[in-house]
């Protein structure tokens, strides 16, 4: 680790983001000055109550919803669980079938698998080579027992953005509710829940420069959703537990900042991402970009490098001060590589050799330059070690 640079080059914003100073500033008074319980009746509880309700309005405004349709949770995973289990349990009399995709986050997939154990049936739709769900396949999968379609807005690994509005329309044409996990999409994809035919939407604060442990579920007015967390009467009796007031306030401020200028943000980030993609594909033979070439998150670049393994790439990058991610099994403790990379048709060898670089607001052109300098060296070094690397086609230099 001797050559580690002083400032880490952080390119793992899909995993989590730093908190913006404005967000921290908004939260600060609610840790100490305005510490009251929003459920209390005395006037001292008014400020925390106002903070929570202001945040509800900020979240609602960011996705074109009404404040009464926003419910705060402890994160995106809880929101996904609530949306899917909540709809399933509340609508069991109408049907027991759910349609989702093979490349959802585990918060969705594992929830669906749990529901299967409870007697529900789930269709896991395949995706094309770019990771797109075909709305016609959604339509074909819907039966008269289908109660929910759940397809993510943008994939967390390969960044592919789904045709959510069309999928929602298909669901509605058949009288089926539509949930989307928008955890990766907030601040990158303009969202209007009405125009996009969304009935339930999950989001998570720490993915857009807000605090960890915060999230929200949008539930369209009138949608039947079972309550999962019982206790007090918070969140209009639909999600018990004393509110994480500072976190909620931070979430509200963060989503306001993240959605203030999506087009401008995407222009700046995508320019760096595209330079990164071009530079890497040009410099490293036998590399490929995973995900859709156009319909992808502005900050996502996901590659496969043949003959090398992802965790090894990550650790050598880490030794040079670069934080990134991989879909390789070796990083996770399971022995299977990413279900997303396998679903888009990558052979196991290439799925093991994947690297995800996700940019964020603090990244600079210098960061891109540094990665373009370091990554080819790292891949070259690992390929020298790998027995899978084919002999160099170049004429050997004279000794």
């Amino acid at each position: 680790m001797n050559d580690q640079v002083e400032r880490p080059v952080y390119m793992d914003h899909a995993a989590t983001t730093f908190m913006k100073p404005e967000v921290l500033a908004a939260m600060a008074p609610y840790f100490s000055e305005h510490f009251g319980n929003p459920s209390s009746l005395y006037r001292f509880a008014g400020e925390p109550r106002n903070g929570v309700e202001a945040a509800r309005g900020q979240v609602a405004a960011a996705i074109g919803a009404g404040p009464e349709e926003i419910f705060f949770t402890a994160g995106g995973t809880e929101a996904d669980n609530w949306a899917i289990k909540g709809v399933a349990l509340a609508n069991r009399a109408r049907g027991n079938h759910i349609v989702t995709s093979a490349i959802e986050h585990h918060a969705v997939l594992h929830t669906c698998e749990w529901l299967e154990k409870q007697g529900f049936s789930v269709t896991y739709l395949p995706v094309d080579g770019f990771g797109r769900v075909d709305p016609e396949a959604v339509e074909a999968a819907i039966t008269d027992r289908t109660i929910l379609v759940s397809v993510m807005m943008a994939n967390n690994e390969i960044g592919t953005v789904q045709p959510v509005a069309e999928i929602g329309r298909v669901a509605h044409d058949h009288g089926v509710l539509f949930h989307t996990d928008a955890v990766q999409a907030i601040g990158a994809v303009p969202i209007d829940v009405d125009a996009m035919n969304i009935d339930l939407l999950s989001l998570s604060g720490h993915k857009f420069y807000g605090p960890k442990g915060t999230g929200a579920l949008y539930i369209r007015r009138g949608t039947r959703v079972e309550t999962l967390i019982h206790g007090g009467g918070q969140e209009r009796r639909r999600r018990a537990g004393t509110e994480n007031v500072p976190g909620i306030v931070g979430l509200g401020r963060a989503i306001e900042l993240a959605t203030a200028d999506i087009a401008g943000h995407n222009r700046r980030i995508a320019a760096m991402r595209d330079r990164l993609i071009r530079g890497i594909l040009d410099a490293i033979p036998d590399s490929r970009l995973n995900g859709h070439p156009v319909e992808r998150l502005a900050n996502n670049a996901n590659f496969s490098f043949r003959y090398v393994e992802g965790e090894s790439i990550l650790l050598l990058l880490d030794a040079r001060g670069i934080c990134a991610s991989t879909g390789s099994a070796c990083s996770s403790g399971s022995l299977e590589p990413s279900h997303v990379l396998l679903a888009i048709g990558l052979p196991h060898e290439e799925a093991h050799g994947s690297l995800r670089l996700t940019l964020g607001d603090a990244n600079t052109e210098d960061d891109v330059d540094y990665i373009l300098e370091v990554l080819p060296e790292v891949i070259g070094r690992l390929r020298e070690i790998s027995p899978l690397t084919p002999p160099s086609p170049r004429v050997p230099e004279a000794e």
């Binding site: 090894s312 990083s331 403790g333 022995l335 196991h348 027995p387």
Partner: protein, 147 residues
């Protein structure tokens, strides 16, 4: 997943990387499908290992295990190298996270495959039955059928 400093050091500066064009025995273990492939090359003088090299496709634990195992078997007799256990490699690395212990097994298997290849090339029985802890009786984990 946390690695010991020793694993990181061995992974970052691996020893004995490469191939031996005049190897006396070559062995391979694992498969690219499961994310790890290890190839070991041996040069044998008398019954001792005079040189050992490796090439590995795999994670940090796999590369570190390959490097450490090749360092450990240098100078060993073939019987000693055959009996090098995965636990020996893990100990030398100061431990491996539980899901990664299989990587050290690959090193052991690749070394045994290389020794078996050496013996086949010399027209001997492929396995060194009898050169292990049980003396060929079976049950030691090294004899055929016990892996």
């Amino acid at each position: 997943m946390m690695y010991t400093e020793k694993v990181i050091e061995e992974f970052t500066n691996p020893q004995n990387v490469g191939e031996l064009t005049d190897a006396d025995g070559v062995g391979e273990a694992g498969s690219p499908t499961c994310g790890d492939t290890m190839k070991i090359y041996l040069k044998v003088e008398g019954d001792r290992i005079a040189d050992a090299r490796f090439r590995t496709f795999g994670c940090a634990a796999a590369i570190a295990s390959s490097s450490m195992a090749t360092r450990m078997i240098l100078g060993m007799t073939l019987a000693e190298a055959w009996n090098l256990s995965d636990a020996d490699v893990v100990d030398a690395l100061g431990g491996l996270p539980e899901p990664k212990v299989h990587c050290s097994l690959l090193a052991r298997d690749a070394i045994r495959a290389a020794i078996a290849d050496y013996r086949v090339r010399r027209g001997l029985e492929p396995q060194e039955r009898g050169s292990c802890e049980c003396g060929g009786v079976g049950g030691c984990g090294s004899c055929p059928g016990n892996d």
